[in-house]
């Protein structure tokens, strides 16, 4: 409940709250440098998806992918702690080892240390002006460095963390074209043995049952960055098994094959694919994530009615015998 005479305020779920009020941290948020390669290695070794990490940390899968793909990157300490928690390891294990050895300086002390000494007039204006120029140059470099070579396309797979035997779940492949021009490409995806593709958006160009692969042949479209399909897990698969996906994007005009990055595996478990935290409930954040993730996939049957009814009810149970979800009122 909220106080009746308070003006409307916005609260983020992951901010500290005290008596229902948002408390801002004094000064700048502390930052740490993380080792992206280690994070990816740890995540994959634990069979976790980028979607899972993004949900736990409260960022997008794009952000997780960025963190993993750049070797060393500064992120908020708060996010690094959540990341370590999700990976079930101490924070130190994901930090850049060189920087972790240096003692962090509190923001206030750091700012004070950077203040120019009083009375030295030349330094007094050179330092801030130089700092400003250096920062602008760094920002410009970051903006330019973000852009991979024009004409190439990178792709990222988004998978739920788990799915029960015999059930369907959506697989998203998000394309990131480097330039604005359209690129002719082939997306080839190999599903785990026994899995079946039940439909795609846009429509799948070809399906090879022998190799268990599917292909889209087409061009990048700025308003359609997502290719998606519904995958069905074999009914006879055992709980606890890990399913591995792999694929590549081939560009017609050079660029070669680019492996599809992002999530590459999921675990067979008795939980609905949208129930990220495995509490047998699809809560508000999870249902909003489902709509957020799949809003761009027109014509794909992600069994939204079932997901909605689990959210609207009091939860669900997995019937292992009948291989179906029981929605609880």
């Amino acid at each position: 409940m909220h106080a009746t005479d308070e003006p409307p305020r916005t609260l983020r779920m992951n901010q500290p709250k005290e008596n229902g009020n948002t408390q801002a941290y004094p000064g700048a948020a502390p930052m740490v440098r993380i080792d992206g390669g280690t994070i990816r290695r740890l995540r994959e070794s634990r069979g976790l998806t980028q979607l899972y990490l993004s949900t736990v940390v409260g960022v997008t899968t794009d952000t997780i992918s960025r963190w993993e793909n750049r070797r060393y990157q500064s992120i908020k300490l708060e996010n690094a702690e959540k990341l370590a928690q999700a990976l079930e390891i101490p924070l130190e294990d994901i930090l850049d080892k060189q920087c972790a050895a240096e003692a962090p300086l509190p923001a206030e002390q750091k700012a004070a240390a950077e203040l120019p000494p009083r009375g030295v007039s030349l330094k007094s204006w050179l330092l801030p002006a130089g700092g400003g120029i250096a920062l602008a140059a760094a920002l410009l470099f970051l903006l330019l460095a973000k852009e991979p070579p024009s004409g190439t396309v990178t792709a990222e797979r988004i998978l739920p963390p788990h799915v029960p035997p015999g059930q369907t779940f959506p697989v998203l492949i998000r394309l990131h074209p480097a330039g604005r021009e359209t690129v002719s490409l082939i997306i080839k995806e190999t599903m785990p043995p026994g899995c079946k593709a039940l439909g795609g958006s846009p429509a799948i160009t070809s399906l090879d049952a022998r190799e268990n692969t599917l292909k889209w042949i087409g061009r990048t479209e700025p308003d359609r960055p997502i290719h998606a399909y519904i995958c069905q897990v074999p009914a006879g698969i055992s709980l606890g098994e890990t399913l591995f996906f792999n694929g590549a994007v081939t560009m017609k005009e050079g660029g070669g094959d680019q492996p599809i990055g992002g999530a590459a595996s999921l675990v067979v478990a008795p939980f609905h694919w949208a129930d990220i935290n495995r509490d047998n409930i699809i809560d508000d954040e999870e249902i909003l994530s489902v709509y957020e993730q799949y809003a761009e996939t027109e014509g794909l049957d992600v069994d939204q009615d079932l997901t909605d009814s689990i959210w609207a009810g009091s939860g669900y149970a997995w019937d292992g015998e009948q291989k179906r979800y029981l929605v609880l009122d």
């Binding site: 409940m1 909220h2 009746t4 005479d5 308070e6 003006p7 409307p8 305020r9 916005t10 609260l11 983020r12 779920m13 992951n14 409260g58 960022v59 997008t60 794009d62 952000t63 120019p116 009083r118 009375g119 007039s121 007094s124 204006w125 801030p128 002006a129 700092g131 400003g132 920062l135 602008a136 920002l139 508000d284 954040e285 249902i287 909003l288 994530s289 709509y291 957020e292 809003a295 909605d308 959210w311 609207a312 009810g313």
Partner: protein, 146 residues
Amino acid sequence: MKKQLKRGSMAGRREHRLWLTCFLFLLCILLPATGSAAEESVTARYLRLGGSALTVEINVGSPPPSSLILVQHLPPGTRLLDSSPAVNNVNVEKGEAKWLLHSIPSGRLVVEMTLDRPVGADEAAAEIRFKPLEGGGMVIVPVAKP
């Protein structure tokens, strides 16, 4: 001596002005990158509160989020007789009703509800939950009371 002091204070002022200029420069660069605009992209207020009929007005900015949830808190035991649009989830014991609104356009949305008994303005409260398009955790916006 006085001249020296004056020169010193002028140099100090110039120094402050430089720091201020740098600060404003950084502010101009960094402000557009913050997510505050998205958090303000959904606002809501009660058009009618107190009694057995409540009306909530939701204003959705552009581009709209893919979906949002209106959560109406009521005194436990209060029943919802009717609502437009239809309610998705009601917990009478908890005194909570939820609407999941998806494929929403930018602009004004109105949710009307009829209760089985009058409820005081201080007994009811509501909030909007949504995920900003640029990512991040779920944002909660309280519905403003008149």
